[in-house]
């Protein structure tokens, strides 16, 4: 510390602390003590490899080994005559080669043969003689070696025959061995005796050079291959493929690479669905995780779905697999407290994606299913028997059933809210949520409900109020065990209101056309963060999509079992449920005209009514339809008719509500429009 001299009474005195210059910054190295060593908790790698710990993987390994071994054996057996013929040709040649090589070595032919020939060519007897003398000297000893070896062999064979007593089979085996060795020695270097059993899928190893070249070729601002660095552990095997994690230089973001997956694949000379660039969540935005499969994913097939097992039984409270990622690892989800929005263009595999989730619910025997599909092709027809409500088509009946489901769900939320409250008072629902115990309890009325609305935009276009209902179900139903899954082609403002998309946590964006559609489903900014379904081709990449809101965001491909497996799964679900349908069908509620109802509930002489009062009276008027309606909902429902929120006098104060004049005017407008 340096103190600038100052006057004791000087107010402007100040102390300047000099920076310490030099010295060590790093902490001093310290030898590890005994305590350090014994308290080490480094992750220990398992002794038994992962493939042997998993029974499914064990079976797969055994199946593969049996199949591969059997095929190889049969393959060689059928070709054994050919092999015998080849051996017959090559064995004498090999024996001759071996014998002549030994003799040639013994006479010392190799050493100066060409020099001696040159001397003979030039008629130079002196040189020839000198060279021959050298050869003869070496050759002498070599002949002794040959003689000794032959003697040793003879002695060995005699001892084997006379003392040990080798049976005839032994001699036969020795002869076969000698013949095979001779044949091996006699075959041309490029003609193996045994034919090739498998044609290996051609895959060149992914190298740093390839990755660097590919990224430079993309033309995204990387000029020199050396600008790309690979953080440890470098390029390594990861599942059935290679994983290259690399850093882009400067301010170039990983999304630039993701945008041009096709270019990357082209530069690597691989099919597009073999190349999977990805951002690394939790890392800086310039880091790319490039996974390159050994094969294109379309040819790789998919691992067996655990739910396809004949003893499968799920619980919506536990993680269940619904798809695989690019590296063939299963991706799981807990359906409870989850609402899912599935979006993608036609041919992207939406219905099957929705089906994988439905399967999880179907295999939980406590779960009620309500399915409405507005495509009309009967994608879920085989599950209709499991559902308490099933609607299919784009006709009025199907659409109104779809709306009824949502109305029922809203009313159910109301009922369940009360049941949960009671359960909480009893101490059975400590968090104010449905628990697995409550859900499984008979007669608790809290069993899980799985609602699937496929091609939901049809419903929302036909009944705008259904959209509001869906939004409220999504908001309220989560903790009450009501799971809402919406699948749609387009999630724009008109077909699926943004409020719904906002309330749905888990979104699964399958193949989409562009950034706008992508962000409608995944939320604004998803495309820029590299979460994009535009990389998938409809049809080719069917089932592939980006899932967010289910753990780490990433690519997921829904399971797509064969038709007979699908049938077996449905049969298993039916068996689990004992052929009984959980829950009851919804009441078909007559659609009500809210404007007319609002006018009807205004008492004579009233100039208007506040929204809350209207809501109360509507609920009294038609409880089956208006149960649970709130002031805000009434206001929102009447807004499309042009009924404004105005001050209504109640007693001395003014409260916002609907005036009779506004309602009448709206009615007249509607009549005029109807004409």
């Amino acid at each position: 510390m340096t103190v600038i001299p100052f006057d004791e009474y000087d107010d402007e005195r100040h102390i300047i602390e000099a920076d310490q210059v030099g010295g060590q910054v790093d902490p001093a190295d310290r030898k590890a003590t005994f305590g350090d060593v014994v308290s080490r908790t480094d992750a220990r790698r398992p002794i038994v490899p992962a493939v042997l710990r998993n029974p499914e993987a064990r079976r797969a390994l055994a199946r593969w080994a049996a199949g591969y071994g059997g095929h190889t054996a049969l393959y060689h057996l059928t070709r054994s005559p050919k092999y015998a013929a080849k051996v017959a040709v090559y064995a004498p040649r090999g024996a001759w080669r071996a014998g002549s090589a030994a003799a040639w070595w013994a006479v010392g032919g190799r050493e100066n043969f060409h020099l001696r020939q040159e001397a003979a060519n030039k008629n130079d007897p002196h040189t020839w003689q000198a060279l021959n003398k050298t050869r003869a000297k070496e050759s002498n000893a070599r002949w002794w070696v040959i003689v000794a070896a032959v003697l040793a062999l003879v002695v060995l064979l005699t001892v084997a025959q006379l003392v040990v007593g080798v049976p005839a089979v032994g001699w036969f085996a020795v002869a076969v061995g000698v013949v095979l060795v001779a044949a091996r020695n006699g075959r041309p270097a490029d003609k193996p005796i045994v034919d090739r059993v498998v044609t290996k899928a051609a895959f060149t190893k992914l190298t740093g050079e390839m990755v660097r070249k590919a990224v430079v070729d993309l033309g995204i601002g990387v000029k020199e291959p050396g600008q790309i660095s690979f953080p440890p552990p470098g390029i390594h095997k990861d599942g059935p493929g290679w994983l290259a994690v690399f850093d882009l230089p400067g301010a170039i973001q990983a999304t630039k690479v993701l945008e041009n997956r096709g270019g990357l694949a082209g530069s690597l000379r691989l099919p597009v669905d073999q190349v999977w660039p990805d951002v690394v969540p939790g890392e800086h935005p310039g880091r790319v995780a490039l996974w390159v499969g050994y094969q294109p994913s379309s040819k790789m097939g998919q691992p067996t779905w655990a739910l396809a097992s004949p003893t499968a039984r799920t619980s919506i409270f536990e993680p269940q697999p619904f798809g695989t990622d690019a590296r063939q690892r299963p991706v799981t989800t807990i359906l409870f407290e989850r609402n899912v929005l599935i979006g993608g263009q036609p041919g992207s595999g939406k219905s099957y994606a929705a089906r994988t989730l439905t399967t999880i619910a179907a295999l939980d025997p406590t779960c009620e299913l309500k399915i409405a599909e507005f495509k009309g092709t009967g994608d879920f027809l085989d599950m209709a028997d499991l559902c308490s409500t099933y609607a299919c088509g784009v006709d009025d009946e199907a659409l109104s059933t779809g709306r009824d489901i949502l109305v029922w769900a809203l009313a159910e939320c109301e009922r369940r809210g009360k049941r949960i409250k009671k359960a909480r008072e009893r101490g059975e629902a400590p968090l104010g949520k449905v628990t697995p115990e409550l859900a499984a309890k008979r007669g608790s009325g809290l069993h899980p409900v799985f609602i699937l609305l496929d091609e939901v935009h049809e419903l929302f276009l036909a009944y705008p109020d259904a959209a509001a209902a869906a939004e409220r179900v999504a908001k309220r139903g989560r903790a009450l065990g009501i799971i809402l899954v919406l699948a749609t082609q387009i999630a724009d403002r008109d077909s699926v209101p943004p409020n719904i998309t906002r309330c749905v946590v888990t979104r699964w964006c399958l193949s989409v056309g562009g950034q706008v559609e992508n962000d409608m489903i995944l939320g604004t900014g998803a495309y820029k963060r590299g979460l994009t379904g535009t990389v998938y081709e409809p049809g080719v990449d069917a089932g592939w999509g980006v899932v967010i809101g289910n753990g780490k965001p990433g690519s997921v491909r829904s399971f797509f079992p064969k038709p007979e497996v699908t049938a077996a799964i449905v049969a298993r679900a039916a068996q689990l449920r004992g052929k009984a349908i959980i829950g009851e069908d919804v009441e078909r509620v007559e659609a009500r005209d809210m404007l007319a109802d609002a006018r009807a509930v205004l008492r004579p002489g009233e100039s208007g009514a506040p929204w809350a009062v209207l809501a109360e009276r509507l609920a009294d008027l038609a409880p089956e339809f208006y149960t649970g309606i709130t002031a805000d909902m009434v206001r929102e429902a009447l807004a499309p008719y042009g009924v404004e929120s105005q001050d209504v006098k109640v007693g001395r104060s003014n409260i916002k509500g609907a005036r009779r004049t506004a309602l009448e005017a709206a009615q007249q407008r509607r009549e005029i429009e109807a004409e």
Binding site: R116, Q117, A120, N121, N123, P125, H126, W128, Q129
Partner: protein
């Protein structure tokens, strides 16, 4: 017939043997000096003169080898 066959076989074997000897033992003793490289005077054994045929090496190339060398030289020069 059989005699002819045997005779042909013998001729072939001898020919092959000669070819082989032309390769591995191309030199033989000089036929003029019998491999001694010098001619000795019969009258005075202490006197001698070098063999001119073999240029006092005592060796001469086999005829086959000599012919073969000639053929190769002609071929090379052509």
């Amino acid at each position: 017939m059989r005699g002819t066959l045997v005779a042909t076989g013998v001729v072939v074997v001898i020919a092959l043997g000669y070819v082989l000897s032309c390769i591995i033992r191309p030199f033989r003793d000089c036929w003029v000096c019998d491999g001694k490289a010098h001619h000795r005077s019969k009258r005075n054994p202490k006197l001698s003169r070098p063999c001119r045929w073999c240029r006092s090496t005592g060796k001469r190339l086999r005829i086959g080898r000599r012919a073969w060398n000639r053929v190769r030289r002609v071929q090379r020069d052509a």
